[in-house]
């Protein structure tokens, strides 16, 4: 069945991006065109320096779109103000390679931060949502643990819960399995796929990890700032 335009969470057309100006200008992305359907899990691959991270940060509203068009959930990102980008980021979930949990907050409090970014969410509601998200990632018995007392896999699962707890339009994950063993890596990706599908959340996952490619709905490969292949998972 053909995917309709309205089912696309991200639609990029003619996207170019560069760093520096004048002679120091270095183009990182060239004429990127892509669409990410709602609820899909897309893996973004490519060698170092191919532009994966730049593309991720542009789609994640962490950089300003300089040239071309990016529609995120129907909102144009080209020339968007910092305030608008900040607001849009509240509709996204992020998972980082090194989990980036706040060391002085418990697992539950870290996850609650993913809910409380939406102003006016009462504390008890955030607490319930956080506990439920941690339950979904299998950490209901670690709610009040500080990150320092969790294993690498557990930390990354907390990060997954934090990214998903606010029901985001899209989750952007940067090498989420790089520091994990094979079983933990498979667990984390399975969680992302299962929870994403259940909540109709789109996932864009940057990775070099071939162990998880079979979980992807589609695989995009970037080389020298250009998409060189698009394939099904």
């Amino acid at each position: 069945m053909a995917v309709q335009d309205g089912d696309m969470v991200v639609k990029a057309r003619g996207l170019n991006h560069w760093f520096g100006e004048g002679e120091a200008r270095k183009q990182a992305l060239f004429d990127i065109n892509l669409s990410l359907p709602r609820g899909s899990l897309t893996v973004l691959m490519g060698p170092s320096g191919s532009g994966k991270t730049t593309l991720l940060t542009l789609l994640g509203c962490l950089r300003t779109v300089q040239d071309g068009s990016v529609l995120l959930a129907g909102t144009e990102l080209f020339d968007a103000s910092e305030a608008k980008l900040t607001k849009l980021r509240q509709r996204l979930g992020f998972i980082f390679q090194s989990h980036n949990l706040h060391e002085s907050l418990t697992a539950l409090q870290n996850v609650m931060m993913g809910v409380q970014v939406h102003n006016g969410v009462p504390d008890d509601l955030a607490k319930r949502a956080g506990a439920r998200a941690l339950d979904l990632v299998g950490l209901s018995d670690r709610l009040h643990y500080l990150p320092g007392n969790l294993s690498g896999g557990q930390k990354q699962r907390v990060a997954v819960a934090r990214a998903l707890v606010g029901n985001p339009e899209m989750v952007l994950a940067d090498e989420p399995t790089a520091a994990l063993d094979k079983d933990s890596a498979a667990d984390v990706v399975d969680l992302l796929k299962r929870l994403g599908a259940a909540r109709n959340t789109t996932t864009l996952l940057v990775t070099h990890d071939n162990r998880i490619l079979d979980r992807a709905d589609s695989i995009l490969t970037l080389e020298d700032g250009r998409i060189v292949s698009v394939s099904g998972g």
């Binding site: 900040t86 849009l88 980021r89 980082f96 002085s104 940067d174």
Partner: protein, 390 residues
């Protein structure tokens, strides 16, 4: 504290959790803030004591107007004035009474350490010019070479002072004469002398042979009840022939001396700078703590930025931390400040004490300056770029 902060900020008290996560550093930060508080308390205490000590001799007398020499910036400084100006003042229908007040310094030679008394010479037949704390003793001064001494004078032990009574007098040598102390009053040591002594004007003139009865240091005047003192002062300035003398209401004279002591005298300026330096030290300490904390958590802040938290959220965290440091640092600061001032008061006999107004002022100042430090520290947060997390 945690619940209170959660209630105030309506979110997880991240600032509190961050600070208390590393307890050693938290304690060191609180000690720093407490130290700055102690510094300010001590300087303020000294400055307040100077005000109290400056105004203290004015509390011994009851007058509406004071006439002094042009260079008399303080009650115990400056030249004398001619008694005839008092007679001229009587020409004003609203002046009801007048008294010449003599002031000098007399050292009681006690061997190891002298006691320097700021000595006031007055007419003992005019109790209406004296405050109640002295009035009961003034009758004793009718006898020549009799003194009433300050029982709080620096160097005079409480036991020794308590023993001074009309039936157990204390004789001592000063200015080459033998005086007999028959009574005491509560004065207190100041910055210019160890304490105060009252004698009759006749005894004063015997002690200070170069002084003349026709030239007291100040002239104290009473006006008719209900009359506007400022109007009378204005009229006296036109009435008295010597236009160089200072004619002021008694209250204004006290306030002018206070201003002079605080802003013109080196000690006042030094104490003022002491308070300023205490405030700056506190500001720097709180800024350093907050700034280091922001730098330590830059990655977490960048993560929160990526998640969509805006500048107000980060400012809130730093303000929260500033409040915690300001409030919790104040408590030990107050305790140590009180202990130090009490100790200093005992050693120096200066009127050093912790007052509620000082405590409130320093508390509010600490909170405000902590927030200012926090606001400055948040500028470092602009360096937290979430794109760098990838």
């Amino acid at each position: 504290m945690r619940r209170l902060l959660q209630w105030i900020f309506g979110r997880i008290p991240i600032g509190w959790l961050q600070l208390t996560h590393k307890r050693g550093r938290f304690m060191a930060a609180l000690a720093g803030v407490a130290f700055a508080n102690v510094l300010v308390f001590v300087q303020l205490g000294i400055m307040n004591s100077m005000s109290t000590a400056t105004l203290r001799p004015y509390e011994f007398f009851r007058a509406d107007i004071m006439i002094s020499a042009s260079d008399a910036n303080a009650m115990t400084e400056g030249g004398n004035v001619a008694r005839q100006w008092m007679l001229q003042a009587f020409a004003d229908p609203d002046i009801t009474d007048g008294l010449g007040l003599f002031v000098g310094k007399a050292a009681w030679d006690r061997g190891e350490r002298d006691i320097t008394f700021t000595t006031f010479g007055i007419d003992p037949g005019r109790p209406e010019f004296l405050a109640p704390i002295i009035t009961s003793e003034i009758g004793l001064l009718q006898v020549h070479d009799v003194a009433v001494v300050d029982r709080l004078a620096r160097g005079l032990s409480p036991e020794e002072a308590a023993a001074i009574r009309p039936h157990t007098p204390l004789s001592f040598e000063t200015q080459g004469r033998t005086l007999t102390a028959l009574g005491t009053f509560a004065g207190g040591g100041g910055f210019g002398g160890d304490g105060y002594m009252l004698v009759s004007d006749q005894t004063f003139l015997s002690l200070f042979a170069t002084r003349s009865s026709s030239a007291p240091d100040h002239i104290l005047l009473h006006v008719r009840p209900g009359v506007d003192v400022a109007d009378v002062v204005q009229r006296l300035r036109g009435l008295i022939s010597d236009t160089t003398v200072r004619i002021r209401s008694y209250a204004d004279a006290a306030q002018e001396e206070l201003r002079y002591q605080q802003t013109q005298r080196p000690t006042g300026v030094i104490f003022g700078f002491g308070v300023l330096i205490g405030v700056l030290v506190g500001l720097v300490i709180v800024y350093q703590v907050l700034s280091a904390d922001v730098a330590d958590h830059m990655r977490e802040y960048a993560t929160f930025k990526a998640m969509g938290y805006g500048p107000q959220f980060f400012f809130g965290i730093v303000v929260e931390e500033a409040l915690v440091l300001g409030i919790l640092g104040f408590v030990p600061g107050l305790a140590f400040g009180t202990a130090i001032l009490t100790f200093m008061a005992k050693v120096t006999t200066l009127p050093l004490a912790m007052t509620s107004s000082m405590a409130v002022m320093v508390f509010l100042g600490t909170v405000v300056f902590s927030i200012v430090s926090g606001a400055i520290a948040t500028r470092r947060l602009t360096a937290a770029d979430p794109a760098d997390l990838f």
